[in-house]
Structures are given as C-alpha cells and as structure tokens.
C-alpha cells in the first residue's frame, strides 16, 4: 500500500480558499499531469497533500498514514518531492547534489557508502549525467540542472514522485528529455504526479489528467476523456480545437 490518497482536502489562507474540497489518488504505474491556470491552487494542493501546508479539512494519506503526522524523513522515503527549481546556495558538485536525494536514508556527503552510493550511481546513469557528475553546479545549463534535479529525486528510490513544473523554462528538446525520464520512472513501477503547463505534452505523456480551476479539481481522468475544447475554454479561457491528443489553441474570441 504505497498510494497517496487525498480526500476532500481544503486549504485556506485567511479568507481565501486555496484548495477547495479536492480528492484524488496517486498509485504506482501512473503518470498523472496536473493542469490549470496560474493561481488555480496546484502548488497548494501538492504541498498540502505532502503535509507541508496546513490543511483546513479533509485528509491526505500516504501509505495509510496522514502525511502531516509523518516525520519528514519517513515521508521523503515514501514520496520524492521536486519543488519548482530554485538556484542552489553553493557551487557544489553535481554528484553531491544528487546524493542529497539520499538524505532521508541518512547519507552524509563525502561519506557515501553501500546502498546510498549505489542508488546515486543508478540515478546518475538513468539521467545520463556520468560525464557531468564532478562538475560544479554553477557551470551547468538550465537543461542539465533540470536533469540533475530529476536524478536527485530518483536517487531517493521512493515509489512515488511529485514534481512541480519540472520542465518550466526548458527548450523543447529538454522538455521531452525530462518527461522521458519521468515516463521511464513510471514504466519501472513508479507513480508520478507532475504539474505541467504544456497541454500537448501532458496529453502525450500522462495516463491521467487532473484539471484544476479556482482551487477545485473539476475533472480527473485519461486524456481521451477529459481533454476537450470546452474544458480548455473553461479552465484557461482560450479557444481550442482538440484532435485526439493534439491541441491547437488561440486567443479567446
């Protein structure tokens, strides 16, 4: 029982309701994309589900336990969390940053042994970073940094992964590359919940789409069922034509 089960989750900040009665489930072998406009409450939903933000009502279970009650280390071993990418404080080596993915397993930088070292090696190989592993992070390009953060999340070897806009500000080739990495993780039995802004890519990679608007989950299902021109117009306020998983968008009339 590794699933994340969120039921009737509500998050309030003073008078504003950031997340309103949201329910969803994340299980292994699923690639779930969360879609919605800026300010729809996507990040709040993820953070509250992880127990990082205070819940007003509802519940968020991870492997059967309320996430807010889990110690950060236990939670991190059950689910890897990749927040929106922020600059690193120091010019560490790529390998050291990836090794931080093993923090919840007790790994200390510079003294990486046994299973921790093996997990880091596997993550480096999976993300094709062996050539870069001894470089300082301030010498990497945006695409290489994104790959490094993916490797860091994979190094935790948690069954689930939550990533908040992992492909923001990347060129198209790197967007494909990162989503391929996450798709690989899902193929190997992982479950991923990924916030995306590119509807085409979401429809192409995800097995399920969660649509958010104004704090509510308004639809949750496979792209074939939930991706419609009406929904795009409702959620993003754009005119759209949908052909299978291909989407054309235009400014509203």
């Amino acid at each position: 029982m590794t699933d994340m089960v969120v039921k009737n989750l509500t998050v309030k900040a003073k008078a504003a309701t950031l997340v309103d009665d949201a329910s969803f489930r994340l299980a292994p072998k699923e690639f779930v994309a969360v879609l919605g406009p800026n300010g729809a409450g996507k990040t709040s939903l993820l953070r509250a589900s992880l127990g990082l933000e205070l819940i007003s009502s509802g519940s968020a279970l991870l492997g059967g336990d309320e996430t807010w009650g889990l110690s950060p280390a236990v939670r991190a071993r059950r689910i890897a969390y990749l927040p929106q990418i922020r600059p690193l404080a120091w010019p560490n080596t790529v390998r050291d940053v990836i090794a931080l993915g093993r923090f919840a397993h007790g790994a200390a930088l510079g003294r990486l042994v046994g299973p921790d070292a093996e997990a880091v090696d596997r993550a480096i190989a999976a993300c094709d970073l062996s050539q870069l592993q001894h470089r300082a992070v301030d010498t990497l390009s945006g695409g290489e940094l994104a790959r490094m953060h993916c490797a860091r999340a994979f190094a935790a070897e948690a069954p689930l992964l939550i990533a908040d806009e992992p492909i923001a500000a990347l060129d198209p080739r790197h967007q494909f590359r990162i989503l391929d990495l996450i798709a690989d993780f899902v193929k190997k039995g992982g479950g991923a919940l990924v916030v995306l802004h590119d509807v085409n890519l979401a429809a192409r990679y995800a097995t399920r789409l969660i649509w958010m608007n104004k704090g509510q989950i308004i639809a949750d299902g496979p792209p074939s069922e939930t991706l419609t021109a009406e929904r795009l117009s409702e959620v993003y306020g754009v005119r759209a034509t949908v052909d299978g998983t291909k989407v054309e968008m235009d400014r509203p009339v």
Binding site: L82, P87, A89, W90, D138
Partner: protein, 343 residues
C-alpha cells in the same frame, strides 16, 4: 576535471582538518614562547611539563600557565566558537555573509555584559559579567528560536537579527552617553573592543560548558545544512525537519557565540572569513566546512593575538580592533564578489 586533479582534491579534503589541528597546536605553543619576557624553548618545555616532572623555574611556570597559555587558549576557543557558529549560520541562511553578528546574538550578549559593567555589578563577583553575556546571548537565541518555531522565513530571522543589533547598539550608546565617570566609560569601551588579554583559566572554565554544548549541537546537526543547499522547500522535500534544524542551529550558534563574547567581548568578521577560506576545499558543503572553519578561525585569532602582543605600541592593540581591520575589508570583498544568481 581529470582524475589526477580529483584525487588531489580528495587528498586536500582528507588532510585539511588534521593539518589545521596541528597548526593550531603549534600556534598555541608559539604563543607561549613569545612575549615581553623572552622564554627560550627549553624553559617553556620545562614549565609545560612541570606538572608531570619536577623541575623548571617557578616564574616560568607562572608566565606559561597563568598568563600565556590561558590567553592563547582563550583566543583559540573564541575563534573556534565564532568560526563554527559562522559556518553553521551561513549554511542555515544560505548566505556567505552570515555570522553570529547577523542574528544579533553578539550585540545582545555584549549589551547584557555592558549593563553589568555599567551598574558596577562586576564588583559583586568577577563572574557576573561572563554570566550576563551568556544570558544576553540566550535571550537573543530564545527570541530567534520562537521565530524559528513559528516557521518564519530565514529573511525574517535576519531582519530580527538586524533589529536586535540596532537596538542593542542604541542602548549601548545610551549607556556610554550617560556613563557616570570616565573610568566606567573606558571599562565599557575596552571590553566592547574585544580582547583576550589577562584571561585566566577561571574565565575559560566558566565559558567552556556553553561553548561545548553549543558546538556539540552545531556539529550534530551539520548534515541538515548540506540539505539546505537545495533551498528550504527542496530540503524539506528530501526529508529535512526544517523547524528542528533552525532551532538547533540558532541555539547552538547562540550558546557558542555567547560564550565567546563572555570570554573576549565582541570580535567580528572571523566568523565570516574562516568559512569563506575553507569552503572551496570542502567542495562547498556546509556540513564538511564546520570543523575546518572552527580550527582555522581559532588559528587566525591565536596568530592575530600573538601579533597584538608583539607590535610595539604604547597601549596594547585590542584583538577585536585588529580582527575588524583585517576582516571588514575581506567582508566587503566577498560581498562584491557575490553574483546576484545566489540571492
């Protein structure tokens, strides 16, 4: 980077701490050799081991055990406490310009100590002043710990520190402004400038427990500082308990800094300079920078204090003044080097 230069780097990482430790011992020993009364090597050795084997001159023993060794040890301990606190706070705040002064701990500690001088409480017992400094540091750290428990952001912690520093500075100026006589004024000034002259083992023993506990807390929670490299959100993502980390670092740095202020008054910038020099040699990992930073800062102050004693001036220079004269320009230089990327 090729394999050979990586091996060389590994070698430095491995030997940095032992090498610094040896240099510290040598520097403390040299500090016992040098001074106004010249003591040759054999007499210092004789005085050192007089406890174990009979012999040596009683006067030499007095110079070494009551004057030079406690002074050198005090300089080392103060430096080590400030270097360790600085390295830990820089890791916590993810900013190479952080140091005990930034969180207002030094300022509050020195304010409390100034109070005890002002009201002549020191005449009750010579231990009143060190205790007051430690209480001042604890008051500041308690306030910061409350802020940390309430999960206020690091920027807020720094701002609270700025507020504490400014307020302490203002009250201190007020006290000096209203000083009843020139003697208490010169007392306060000389203590605020920072010095380890005339320190005895008594004062060291009083400060030591706080210093040891604070350092132990900082060293035990060092691993979390590595995780904070990622930023707070990602650090909690990899499993760091943010609240606990903040409390531990703030408390540990508060205790160690309070003890150092109790021992030597305000000595600035060594807590910034030492970690900055160490960082490139430990792959910029905050956890691995802790011990070398402490040793290097201790070494710097022992050497600076030897310099203070040897420079022939009418009034002996204050260690804190010399530290700031060297440290402040380095601080400005580090600030100028910083790229906006890291802000």
């Amino acid at each position: 980077m090729n394999q050979a230069s990586r091996d060389f780097e590994q070698l430095i990482v491995k030997w940095l701490t032992p090498a610094l430790a040896v240099l510290c011992v040598v520097a403390i020993f040299v500090a016992c050799l040098l001074g106004s009364t010249p003591l040759p090597l054999d007499r210092v050795f004789a005085a050192f081991f007089a406890v174990l084997i009979d012999g040596g001159d009683v006067g030499d023993q007095l110079v070494v055990w009551s004057i030079r060794l406690p002074r050198a040890l005090a300089a080392f301990l103060v430096g080590a406490a400030l270097g360790l606190s600085g390295a830990a706070l820089q890791g916590l705040l993810r900013n190479p310009l952080a140091e005990p002064g930034v969180l207002g701990v030094s300022a509050t500690a020195s304010l409390a100590a100034t109070f005890s001088l002002y009201y002549g409480l020191v005449s009750i017992s010579p231990w009143v002043m060190p205790v007051a400094a430690i209480l001042g540091a604890l008051a500041a750290t308690a306030l910061l710990a409350v802020a940390a428990i309430r999960r206020l952001s690091v920027v807020t912690l720094i701002l609270i520190g700025v507020g504490l520093s400014s307020f302490s500075g203002a009250v201190m100026s007020l006290l000096m402004n209203l000083a009843p006589n020139p003697f208490s004024l010169s007392d306060m000034v000389s203590w605020m400038l920072g010095s380890v002259a005339n320190r005895s083992f008594n004062e060291i023993i009083l400060a030591l427990p706080f210093l040891v506990i604070g350092s132990a807390v900082l060293l035990a929670t060092g691993r979390g500082l590595s995780a904070l490299t990622l930023g707070e959100e990602a650090a909690s993502g990899v499993g760091l308990d943010l609240t606990r980390q903040r409390i531990a670092t703030v408390l540990g740095a508060g205790l160690a800094t309070g003890a150092s202020v109790a021992l030597a008054g305000v000595i600035g910038f060594v807590g910034i300079v030492a970690p900055h020099l160490v960082r490139p040699f430990v792959k910029h990992d905050p956890a691995r920078s802790l011990v070398p930073s402490a040793l290097l800062a201790g070494l710097i102050l022992v050497i600076a204090d030897i310099g203070v004693r040897l420079i022939p001036t009418d009034n002996e220079l204050k260690l804190g003044v010399v530290a700031s004269l060297i440290g402040a320009p380095v601080f400005v230089w580090i600030a100028m080097q910083r790229r906006s990327l890291h802000d």
